[in-house]
């Protein structure tokens, strides 16, 4: 075996180089993700106001069980998850399939247009939708002029409609983003598979479920995990579109954590306990996804 100047074998040298290459990234992830996670766990067993904290066992967690606002935010977040994520992903796959057609003209134009919403800052689009759906906003004006409604709807002032506006806004913002991943996935599928299916006389529905869906599975898994993760952490929309209202009907879990830590008397321990609930949810859901997605 060759040896380099310092008396190391070539393989040892490469091994050390490899570690130095990945070390900065690894250290940062440990310091900025894992270490704070441990800190948050310790914090979740303490209670008090501000920096005046004392160990208090499971008090924060038992308090959570009785906190109506927390459960409302929990239900809201899951409602977004169950309604918005499936609609958005199905729409994204559908659009990707349309855009993937060989003989389609103006492909680039359509793709750019559909992806464009993702370029707007989360804060920006929240404010755009808030203004469009406000009581004297554009949506009401148009619906009124078209005769679809007889009087202005207070979209953001009613519990159900406020939720619907948030869901519409989320679908608008994120469908194109997911579509890009599906487009990429579709491009990696070999054309000969489709030709073979055609020769075998398979219709387009059958082709989709027997060829496209199974081959897109890794991409579907990736986008589902990203979407679940993103939805459980919703914050900007809740703050800037509806302010969590009316009567907490659109408040998300992250927004409530922020309020408990920075808006009222800061209760870091209690907020940390809540954040651990989100963490456990994300972990469990991702784990289920991976198990289901891995089945072949």
């Amino acid at each position: 075996m060759k040896t380099s100047r310092k008396g190391l074998t070539v393989n040892q040298k490469y091994n050390i180089t490899g570690w130095t290459f990945l070390l900065p990234a690894a250290i940062l992830i440990f310091a900025m993700n894992f270490y704070p996670m441990i800190q948050a766990l310790i914090l979740s067993f303490k209670s008090g106001i501000g920096n005046n904290l004392k160990f208090n066992g499971l008090y924060n967690y038992s308090r959570l069980l009785e906190d109506r606002v927390f459960w409302t935010s929990f239900k809201n977040t899951f409602l977004y998850l169950l309604i918005q994520v499936p609609i958005m992903l199905a729409l994204a796959i559908f659009l990707a399939l349309l855009l993937n057609k060989k003989d389609l003209k103006c492909k680039g134009l359509f793709r750019t247009a559909i992806f464009l919403p993702c370029c707007t800052a989360l804060v920006s689009y929240s404010i755009i939708f808030k203004t469009l759906f406000s009581f004297d906003g554009y949506i009401n004006t148009v619906l009124l002029n078209l005769g679809i409604i007889s009087s202005r709807i207070n979209w953001l002032g009613q519990e159900e409609t406020a939720k619907i506006v948030i869901i519409i806004a989320l679908i608008w913002r994120w469908t194109g983003y997911n579509m890009v991943f599906y487009l990429a996935g579709l491009q990696n599928i070999d054309d000969s598979l489709y030709e073979a299916a055609k020769i075998d006389g398979a219709g387009s529905v059958k082709t989709f479920f027997k060829i496209t869906m199974p081959l897109l599975r890794p991409t579907i898994l990736l986008t589902t995990i990203m979407s679940i993760n993103g939805t459980l952490q919703l914050f900007d929309e809740s703050v800037n579109l509806t302010g969590g209202g009316p009567a907490n009907s659109t408040l998300t879990m992250s927004h409530y954590i922020y309020k408990v830590s920075f808006e009222y008397n800061p209760q870091f321990g209690y907020a940390a306990a809540m954040s651990y609930i989100i963490f456990i949810l994300v972990a469990v859901l991702s784990f289920i996804q991976m198990k289901v997605g891995d089945k072949r």
């Binding site: 490469y14 180089t17 490899g18 570690w19 290459f21 990945l22 990234a25 690894a26 940062l28 900025m32 704070p36 996670m37 948050a40 914090l43 659009l95 349309l98 057609k101 389609l104 134009l109 359509f110 247009a113 559909i114 464009l116 919403p117 370029c119 707007t120 800052a121 989360l122 804060v123 920006s124 404010i127 755009i128 939708f129 808030k130 203004t131 469009l132 002029n145 608008w172 194109g176 890009v180 991943f181 990429a184 996935g185 491009q187 990696n188 890794p218 993760n229 952490q233 914050f235 900007d236 703050v239 800037n240 992250s254 922020y258 830590s261 870091f268 940390a272 989100i278 963490f279 994300v282």
Partner: protein, 269 residues
Amino acid sequence: MRKIKNVSTYVILSIVSLISVFPLYWMISAATNNSTDILGGRLIFGTNLMNNLTNLLEQQNVGRAFGNSLMFSTILSVLSLVVCSIAGYGFEIYHDRAKDRLMGILLLAMMVPFAATLIPLFKMFTDLNLQSTWIAYVLPTISTPFLIMLFRQSARSFPKDIIEAARIDGLSEIRIFATIFVPTMKSTYAAAMTVTFMNAWNNYLWPKVIMMSEKSQTMPMLVTNLSVGYSIDYGVLMLGVLICSLPTGILFLVLQKSFANGIVGAVKG
């Protein structure tokens, strides 16, 4: 039959494209109108742009917020690309069992919600007296499992013979990375740059918490300030929203093609 199918494809895509673009068009047209016209439902461009701009500049320090956002996001994206690409390369090219296992652990960080690390990070940075500095803005998100994975994936498709040949030519490992890998992976870098810069620019929760001094205010924070209050001037507000969306919009339009290619490479698996 085939013709009908084709026509319906164009109809559906046109409608979806219109819905996607309309709010953005509305934002731009609103930035050129005054509040009364906007609420009246005016859609065509008006002549109030300069007026809105003057009012906006009078009310808020837009230059400072824009400069802050631009500086923080650029520093964060560049550092992030350097740190994560070299790590992704390291994980793939020199991979062995220990490194693969470490990668598996790092991927777990994808599941860590920001809300959970928010308070400890806040305490950490305030204890170090780093609040309201660029370091506080960038440090928590320089290294992300998503980017490391993206670069590891693209390093997988990188021909290993080239590395061997370069080694025989006597190039050092870091030079092989910097002069051969980086230039061939342009589209991956473009995709990573687009995603990272957008996230960095749009970042809201963390800056809202840690950038406490007025001097360190960022563009999204400034825009939200415009949207609260008793009498909102919608023309001024939408101009602010427009300015806040410009950098990410331009970046995407410029890097669009390489962005799509970079994602194709990453999804390949």
